[in-house]
Symmetry: C2
Subunit: 397 residues, 2 copies
């Protein structure tokens, strides 16, 4: 046995997103980029803003000694100070730099947080549908992810969360704007969630964290906003990255922020810094800590994502595919149309789409059968050109 059995098993049910992405690379080689409609991966097609590119050049030209060396495991103080400004603005409460930990992207940040807080058998509740990698991020550290179905419009369903709560609940993990639905959880619902957890704490003596995974916070449409979490619940943690808003997903740069009013904040931050170290991240990549310290608030025009959303919904309307209209992020979650044989199987339908060189991700990858996800961080041309393929695929389904 060359590989641990539990890993072999996990690999069998592995990432449908990555499979589609890698299938797309092959198809593009065969048919050319323009003839493959790759909606598989949340890999932003916008380039990083010019401010980011300029600062990259500036840092590359710097002769400062030790630019690429070690720094404290929590990150450069100046990077943490910049994130403290960002988070304080977003959350409407002052967050000190000592309560910020720079991380290897949001995925690295979540793993460090889970490592710090989870004991064997602990549970993390997540509103479903959800980003499927969360399952692994929990099991990596002895935890179990417990999906709690959202309402039909994908808004938070407080009752399903209430039912999922137990003495094993270490945290509720929310992701808003949501991947895969594009839903933004309302301020009222976040407050209800906080109230529910306070009640649960009184009953059980164990206070679950609320952890907000927020890489899409900045990408919202039609003046929607993402409600702050820190003012409504003390045991709360925000994890984010610059993968999506600044189009730097390959650089693995993100951060963790802990609510300043949380009583055991010093212990928690120390544990997260420790987890960040021993999980082998050691520290967030040095170069991009420097980059985002100067460019975290670079203006970005997300209107093209809105145009892409509108272009894609038009295509889907023509193809008679039902979808949930996203309020943020760049994903469309779509219902599998009923096939000639009555099937609404998402895997079969995604295979059907692939025959027409459309790459989509089955909803099972997000805990939701009968649905599939399209990532529309691709050119409008790709979207428009896919019209005939979508129509033909549905017609032949």
């Amino acid at each position: 046995m060359s590989v641990a059995p539990q890993i072999l098993k996990a690999m069998e049910n592995s990432s449908a997103i990555r499979k589609a992405f890698e299938a797309g690379i092959k198809l593009k080689k065969e048919f050319g980029n323009d003839n493959v409609y790759d909606f598989s991966l949340g890999n932003p097609d916008l380039e990083p803003p010019i401010e980011v590119k300029n600062v990259i050049k500036k840092i590359a030209a710097s002769d400062e000694i030790g630019t690429h060396g070690y720094m404290p495991n929590a990150g450069y103080n100046f990077a943490r100070a910049a994130m403290s400004k960002k988070v304080s603005e977003e959350q409407g409460v002052f967050v000190e730099e000592k309560n910020i930990i720079m991380s290897c992207g949001a995925a690295g940040g979540l793993n460090a947080v889970f490592k710090a807080i989870l004991s064997q058998g602990d549970e993390i509740i997540v509103p479903s549908p959800f980003f499927a990698e969360y399952i692994h991020y929990c099991t990596n550290h002895g935890g179990k992810l417990i999906p709690a179905a959202t309402n039909e419009d994908f808004s938070l369903n407080i009752d399903t969360i209430k039912n999922a709560l137990s003495s094993k609940t270490a945290a509720v993990l929310i992701n808003s704007p949501n991947n895969p639905t594009g839903k933004i959880y309302s301020k009222e619902d976040i407050q209800l969630l906080a109230n529910t957890l306070e009640e649960h704490t009184k009953k059980t003596g164990r206070k679950p964290y609320i952890i907000a995974d927020e890489p899409y916070r900045a990408i919202v449409y039609e003046n929607k906003t993402v409600a702050p979490l820190f003012p409504v619940y003390d045991a709360s943690i925000v994890v984010s990255s610059f993968a999506k808003n600044l189009s730097l997903p390959g650089e693995r740069i993100g951060y963790i922020a802990v609510n300043p009013v949380f009583k055991e904040i010093d212990e928690l931050c120390a544990a997260i810094i420790f987890a960040n170290r021993i999980l082998g991240y050691v520290n967030a990549p040095a170069f991009f800590q420097r980059v985002i310290a100067e460019t975290w608030n670079a203006p970005v025009d997300f209107s093209s994502y809105l145009l892409r959303r509108n272009a894609l919904t038009k295509v889907l309307d023509k193809a008679n595919i039902h979808y949930a209209e996203p309020e943020g992020a760049f994903y469309l979650f779509c219902k599998v149309p009923k096939g000639k044989n009555g099937s609404t199987d998402e895997n079969d339908f995604c295979n059907q789409l692939e025959k027409y060189r459309i790459l989509a991700v089955p909803g099972t990858g997000f805990g939701k059968k009968g649905w599939f996800r399209l990532a529309y961080c691709v050119s409008e041309k790709t979207i428009t050109n896919s019209t005939d393929a979508f129509i033909a695929a549905v017609k032949a389904w």
Copy 2:
């Protein structure tokens, strides 16, 4: 309880290296850089070679679309191809690029490998003294690190390894040139280790891996060389980084290479790529994958480390401190001199040194009482200036 109990416990015995490094930052603020003799951390004081700096500038100036985007989890094909050349040269056997996985430094690489191969209760044997973070890298994934004492000159002791072997042994982890001793394990000893594991396999039916952690491979003195592993043992894996040889520790760029003759190589590589993804590294940082793909073989002059070694041994001779002469890397492992009260306690002695503004790491951090480590990747001036402090500290001990 805000933090998992097992993490709190692990933090208590946490990194002496990092504690000394962070104490050093404070002392330097108080007394000035020139008045603190910081031998705590393996943070190379050489700057990256000019070739690296030039390529950083070139990539920063590139307008290639998607430079900072996602790529397959195993890394860019061109980066894997470059590593395939490097590893093939070093190991004397041809290693295909598909058997290379780019990683978030060697620490990220080791964690991905351990995650891929370890089941709960599995053991990894390490010749001792050893880099203490290995303990965490094992326990992170349900394993246990089993130290096997080396000989008095810190060479491999095959008998202690033989005694440590059991049906739970998943791997033997070797680190040569060694941190903290600077020892290079000889070709003959590597062959003996391979033979021993082959015998063990015949008896038990379970073949342990040999995993070589090789960040210091290039830093060797007086024409010493590090023996290749792939020609002598099939179930072998090399993990390395560019932290030490190219002075890029903060950038978290490394790789994993699997022996091409290993029968289950495809399964193993797939599992490591999967582990690299789900541990939240996702991929090695994009920018520095590009950098090292072009500069992995940039010429570096390590003669200054030899000068520093010789300068520091002169200082230690004057202070009457016994040490093991390193053959590679940039650490001196030293014996705590017997104090006036007969003590050879390494923690007390390191505290004593700190009073004289000398930062060193107690040997307990490497599984060896009565010793301490000095990292001499610091300026010769710092080394020479520390003479009086060392003499005074020992005199007053």
